[in-house]
Amino acid sequence: MTTLADLTAREIVQRVRARELSAVDLVAALLERITGLDAEIQAWATVAADAALAEAAARDRDAAAGTIGPLHGVPVGVKDVIDVAGLPTAAGFAPYRDRVATEDAAVVARLRAAGAVILGKVHTTQFAHADPAPTRNPWRADRTPGGSSAGSGAAVAARMVPLALGTQTAGSVLRPAAYCGTVGFKPTYNWISRQGVIPLAWSLDHVGLLARTVDDVALTFGALTDTEPDRAARTTPPRLVLLTDFLERAEPDVRDHLTDVAARLRAAGATVEERSLPVELDLLLAVHHVIMQAEVAALHAEQLARYPNDYGAILRQEIEVGQLIPAAYVLKARRLRRQLGHAVDAALAGIDAYLLPTASNAAPRHTTTGDRTFQAPWSLLGTPTITLPTGLNADGLPLATQLVARRGHDAALLAVAGWCARVLGTIAPPDLAPPAASAKVAEAEPAAPAEAATSEPGEPPAEPGSAPAQQAEEETGEEPERPSTA
């Protein structure tokens, strides 16, 4: 049975527009779900319950008056490095705990203008770097949700919210989306404004989106960029290149899964050639490493001197070692970055997208945020990239497929991703115990988009018993801590 928490963003907009759904009822149901689940998952840093209910009521009034935005009534979680007026932007950093933003970040203002409802702030790793956040993976509590957009991935996967904002400097949107079994999209560099976003490494930082369907990502990206991605544009099978460099570095279950994905796409008519990158993967990673480390050091060195004990161990080392890198290396890295970008752009020009695993592995233990190797090259080059949840491994953890397109070809990538999602299907959500009073959708369920199908012939079915069983092992019986509210 479909609950309000299961509605996609597009379904929400359709129902609010048709006055079949009250935005207030939806927000109330999600707040109830968050109250019931977040003590275990810890996705939320701040839940703005009162403000969200008031904003939802305003959306209902607008709908009654016939004023409807493209994201009308859609609740959104915002990563806690992005400013939301009236809420703290703590960035996982204790000295920022009471740093209340006075204005919305540009991307948040855009969301509100499109009719979205800001539900609150979701946890980030400290300053969107690599020291793990408190958030747990909804599929298994002993596994990382990934990072740095840990709360974004977990909140969307746990059906606490249909849409969340994340940021990515290495792999911080794609990886949590992959580990949590959601769709994650990082657009071309600079295509979503970073104004009002705490930077980590300014030439690598991107704002991205996490949702449950490609369609919702396309809807949101269109609202944020004033474009209208044509979801139906892709009717012909795409030309893809399966990147062997990444397959060779993937864990066996990931490699086998991508081989199967490629076979299914071929069977549906796609052209899938196996090739290697036109440049050395290790050079891409080296250039990314040096630029990121130098920029992180430039941004944080002064603050680290003031608050040495408040920095996480991994970020602190990054800042300190970054201070030692000579300028000549950084400048050479930047020049190489442009050369590498030209080479990859040229290789992508003749095809629709690269095909590769999103991560080298399924979600590892929560002492790490995972391996950035498969995502960092695209942050370096500023190319658009998207991850789709396309299967589960033998442990019942999500496996994901990544598509990468040429810079500026975001709409085309979303169309290719939509085609692939229709062919590959998606995974069933983690089997989390819903709150007792969770509202059910009263009216008849509309026809689900093809990409929302939960299984495909040959796809391993979800194993509903595995996730809750694991979570039961993790439970301690202690009184759960409630998320803070503002």
Binding site: Y189, N190, W202, S203, L204, D282, L283, L285, A286, V287, H289, V290, Q293, A301, E302, L304, A305, R306, P308, N309, A313, Q317, E318, E320, V321, Q323, L324, I325, P326, A328, Y329, L331, K332, A333, R334, R335, L336, R337, R338, Q339, G341, H342, G382
Partner: protein
């Protein structure tokens, strides 16, 4: 290490946890009795710790990592370790061993790639390649 002008420093923090070990004022110009006194050129030699001098025989400088395609990853790492020890102290250097190794690997790889000065990417400003502050 004295904090830069205008910055604050928690003096309760152990020296090893601050931004660097104690240092003397830079040599060269010293202020005395309200006037500046130029020291002799012999006094202008850069100060180096005993650790820093050990790499000189290998063509490494004591204060930075030279951009040199011939430098092996091992030599880059040795030099980075020296710099870290001078700047942050031996304990922090020990704690950041893994990060230093990864960075040394990246630096050595970047140094090893030849740059064609007439290549199609002459701009290092980053304006188009991603660089808005």
């Amino acid at each position: 290490m004295r904090p830069p002008t205008g910055a604050t420093m928690d003096y309760n923090t152990p020296r090893s946890l601050r931004n660097g070990p104690a240092r003397r004022a830079p040599r060269g110009l010293t202020r005395g009795a309200g006037s500046l006194r130029l020291l002799s050129t012999a006094d202008l030699r850069p100060s180096r710790s005993p650790l820093a001098t050990t790499g000189q025989a290998n063509g490494e400088t004591g204060t930075t990592v030279k951009l040199d395609a011939q430098l092996s990853e091992k030599k880059v790492l040795a030099q980075l370790r020296r710099m870290a020890a001078e700047t942050f102290g031996p304990m922090r250097t020990y704690e950041m061993a893994g990060t230093l190794e990864r960075t040394a690997g990246a630096l050595a790889r970047i140094a090893a790639v030849p740059l064609d000065l007439r290549d199609a990417a002459p701009d290092t400003s980053g304006v188009n390649g991603g660089g808005d502050a």
